[in-house]
């Protein structure tokens, strides 16, 4: 590969437990995940010299330095693209490595998504938290909350209905994504939805929250953290190469209402850059771990990344098959929909393990190349193309 980004590899991965309910703080969950990544890498935590924190976390750089006993942190940054931050953070780490600013960079993120912030809990406090979690909080408070536009699902429903009407979408594709993720979770001991298989009848019986989205189109709310270690390629055997990484924003990234093309997503720009940089294309990917806050977002990313034209993802999913054994396995760990919502960092740890060939019953046979995406706020995107 000619891409300079291929000079960096992910050399360690780790997680905390994924649960619904925890006695640990967000920081404690993250420190556990970071230690597990160091164990996986077989390196002492104090040897870390770079740190990237995906956006919106409650802890500070110093909390990680002191919590892990790091003695000489040389580089730190934050990625701020909502749910796309975890994958965008890989870009920060790679940049630090290839420029020589750091040699062993930790990316760590997590949250008490169940214990602190369940969206169904409602309340004035929720409105403030949601406004602050998005870009342009004043637009949210002033122009949207008074009308009852509050949670991500409702914003995406506005986009979904435009998409459905414009392209006469077959909605069964949403269910196909939900079921694929759940079936993969049955093969993953860490998945919160292990031993809770799902049939299409269950999906269709699940209540509509905001048309066209059912409860089972929405991701889980869970407690947990995950961590990655990024180093120069070749420093250790078994590193998984970051062949390319990129982030991108849609037009009008702080406002869907006035986005000229309401279906524009940042991943369209990011994926073009990443595939060009790696000299690869969608057809080369052995699997995809796609940010799945909602089933709809999985389908839309496939389109905007160029796996198929806009409006044709339902056909793509039906023809190629996104369940293990199909031609295009998606979210082999169960995703945010059925493993856990760990800010998408769990998509990266899964991709690394797939490329190591260590996924056991859910291993994609012969996986050599894969991609991971992040999706955040009002359509920010990030992508990492990885290979062994």
């Amino acid at each position: 590969m000619t891409s300079p980004q291929a000079g960096a590899s992910i050399t360690g991965v780790g997680e905390s437990a994924f649960t619904r309910g925890t006695s640990h703080s967000e920081l404690q969950l993250c420190l556990k995940a970071a230690r597990n990544a160091c164990l996986d890498r077989e390196c002492p935590p104090e040897s870390l010299d770079g740190l990237v924190i995906p956006g919106g976390r409650k802890f500070r750089v110093e909390d990680v330095v002191t919590g892990l006993g790091i003695t000489d942190l040389r580089f730190s940054s934050r990625a701020e693209l909502g749910g796309a931050s975890s994958v965008a953070a890989i870009g920060h780490a790679v940049a630090a490595i290839v420029s020589g600013l750091a040699t062993r960079v930790l990316i760590v993120g997590g949250w008490r998504g169940y214990s602190d912030r369940r969206l169904g809990a409602g309340g004035d406090d929720l409105l403030d938290k949601l406004a602050q979690a998005f870009p342009a909080p004043e637009f949210r408070r002033q122009l949207e909350h008074p009308y009852g536009l509050i949670v991500p699902l409702q914003y995406y429903a506005l986009q979904a209905n435009r998409w459905i009407r414009e392209f006469e979408i077959d909605l069964s594709a949403l269910g196909a994504v939900s079921l694929a993720c759940r079936s993969h979770a049955q093969l993953n001991d860490k998945a919160v939805m292990k031993d809770r298989p799902l049939a299409i009848e269950d999906y269709l019986a699940s209540p509509i929250v905001s048309d066209p989205f059912r409860v089972l189109d929405c991701c889980l709310e869970t407690d947990g953290a995950a961590a990655l270690i990024v180093e120069e390629s070749g420093r250790t055997a078994g590193g998984i190469r970051v062949l390319a990484v990129a982030e991108g924003r849609p037009d009008s990234p702080d406002d869907i209402t006035n986005r000229p093309d309401m279906l524009d997503l940042g991943i369209a720009k990011a994926a073009g850059r990443a595939f060009d940089s790696a000299g690869l294309g969608p057809e080369d990917m052995d699997f995809c771990e796609l940010y799945d806050c909602f089933t709809f977002v999985v389908l839309r990313q496939l389109e905007e990344m160029g796996f198929c034209p806009r409006g044709e993802s339902p056909k793509l999913v039906a023809e190629r098959g996104i369940t293990l054994g199909g031609k295009l396995p998606v979210n082999t760990h169960g995703g945010l929909l059925s493993e856990a919502h760990v800010l998408g960092l769990n998509h990266v740890t899964e991709a690394v393990r797939q490329l190591r060939g260590s996924c056991g019953a859910r291993q994609v046979d012969g996986a050599r190349l894969g991609l991971v995406t992040g999706y955040g706020d009002f359509g920010d995107g990030a992508i990492a193309v990885m290979g062994r």
Partner: protein, 136 residues
């Protein structure tokens, strides 16, 4: 629990809400290049001028998208379920988020003409959009 109301003292949006109170829709406009700046931004993205005035826009337009909400995420809206959010385009580059009323879900069509109605709800005057009557 009370409905969330817009804070009409927020400087860059105050003129919008002041217009709504008078049953007029108006948006910030660049005094130099006359581009409409909606939603408000820190400076004119076309020419860089930070100052702005206010320009009226039509209180009627076309339906750009919609979303029927079946579950309330704030107790203030629990009594309004189901309600329909909508995005209405009133001029090139100017769309408003609001509520769609007066049309059954199955009759909603993208591009349908809609007209603004102003009504008070929970201490704020808000904008509702209703399909434009033929000849109306």
């Amino acid at each position: 629990m009370p409905r969330p109301v817009p804070a009409v003292d927020a400087p860059e949006l105050a003129g919008y809400w002041e217009g709504v109170a008078r049953q007029v829709l108006q948006v910030p406009q660049c005094p130099s290049c006359h581009a409409l700046r909606w939603p408000p931004r820190g400076a004119c993205p076309v020419c860089g001028v930070v100052e702005f005035g206010w320009a009226p826009v039509p209180a009627a337009g076309t339906l750009h998208s919609y979303a029927v909400v079946n579950r309330a995420f704030h107790p203030a809206f629990a009594g309004e379920i189901p309600y329909t959010l909508c995005v209405t385009e009133v001029a090139p580059g100017v769309r408003f988020l609001g509520r769609l009323v007066g049309v059954a879900d199955r009759d909603i069509e993208l591009g349908m003409p809609v007209t603004a109605e102003f009504a008070d709800a929970g201490g704020a005057r808000l904008v509702y959009w209703r399909p434009t009557q033929p000849g109306g």
